[in-house]
């Protein structure tokens, strides 16, 4: 089975050094979409605004096969009052 690498950038770079052996590109994409959901959940409600969250999938030769971006922007920020 070919090896795929899943790199995550989220303000800082977290490169995948080991990779995972998966059946084919389709399975790599499927796994990436699952993993993205899980990783966003792991942020536990603290997704920072104005920082791009990105996963890129590469093959063993380092060719990028896909990218998944999550762009978080806050368009209005209301200051909280003490009582709120």
């Amino acid at each position: 089975m070919p090896r795929y690498y899943f790199h995550v950038r989220n303000g800082q770079v977290r490169d995948d050094r080991e990779g995972v052996d998966l059946e084919d590109d389709q399975e790599a994409w499927h796994q990436a979409t699952l993993a993205c959901g899980e990783m966003l959940r792991d942020l536990a409600g603290s997704l920072p605004a104005d920082v791009e969250w990105r996963m890129s999938g590469t093959d063993a030769e380092g060719r990028t096969l896909f990218e998944i971006h999550v762009q978080a922007e806050r368009l209005r920020t209301t200051a909280r009052t003490k009582e709120g």
Binding site: V8, G19, L34, A35, E38, M39, A44
Partner: protein, 251 residues
């Protein structure tokens, strides 16, 4: 005190069920002998083989002697969740003794052996030793406590915390039956199976293992899982072994 007809991986050659029970309460010599002399039937299983099949009406229950097994639930599209993980000493389907049927299969994760004993023999045993009835009740309750804890892990903990917790729990449960080696233990589990335990994709499971490694908390090579920094791992997992009830007391 060897006497047992049961082969066992732990150094002392003691039946793992006895080790498991004695961590909860002292057994009398008669009780120990009665457990050892049950008509155990040892069977070996290859990975993926079923120890007990869903919808069976078993007339016997089994105790893990060595290796690992699990209860797995699968969805129509093939997604799997391991709900329970069994190690040596665990009385896998003691619940069938009273429930009379089993609602999902128990499958070998690695090569393993289990000792089967008839419900008839178990009935005779607990009628002779009411104390053992209470102890069997105790370990069934411990299984429920482990499950409650795992629901919390699956529901509210992130991947790295969940994985750290799993390794802490495995270490303590294997230590109970004498199967740790120093700070490590044999963990013959591949990453797809690990991801089915954690309820995570293979990719996120793999990244989480890498993260524990990078933080210097574990190493994992050739099925040997070594905990390099127990305090660090337990702290990350917020691991508190209370729910395993490992203190012997009169029950």
């Amino acid at each position: 005190m060897r006497g047992s007809a049961l082969p066992s991986e732990n150094a002392a050659g003691i039946h793992p069920l006895i080790l498991l029970l004695e961590r909860r309460d002292r057994l009398s010599p008669e009780e120990r002998r009665a457990i050892e002399n049950l008509p155990w039937r040892i069977r070996s299983f290859d990975p993926e083989e079923d120890l007990v099949r869903q919808k069976d009406r078993p007339t016997e229950s089994c105790v893990m002697i060595d290796g690992f097994a699990s209860r797995v639930k699968s969805s129509a599209d093939g997604a799997r969740q391991i709900t329970t993980f069994y190690v040596a000493g665990d009385f896998v389907d003691l619940n069938c003794f009273v429930l009379k049927r089993i609602d999902h299969s128990v499958t070998a994760v690695s090569r393993c052996r289990a000792g089967f004993v008839s419900h008839e023999a178990l009935t005779a045993l607990i009628e002779r030793f009411p104390h053992l009835t209470r102890l069997f009740w105790t370990i069934t309750e411990v299984d429920a406590a482990i499950l409650r804890n795992w629901i919390f892990q699956l529901g509210r903990r992130n991947a790295v915390q969940r994985l750290a917790h799993l390794f802490c729990e495995m270490s303590r449960r294997l230590e109970t039956v004498g199967l740790t080696r120093g700070t490590g233990f044999v963990f013959p589990v591949n990453q797809p199976t690990l991801s089915d335990m954690l309820g995570l994709s293979i990719v996120h499971t793999n990244r989480s293992v890498q993260e524990l490694r990078a933080r210097g908390l574990i190493t994992w090579q050739r099925q040997l899982l070594e905990i390099g920094d127990w305090r660090g791992l337990a702290q990350l997992a917020e691991f508190d072994p209370d729910y395993l009830y490992l203190t012997p007391e009169p029950r």
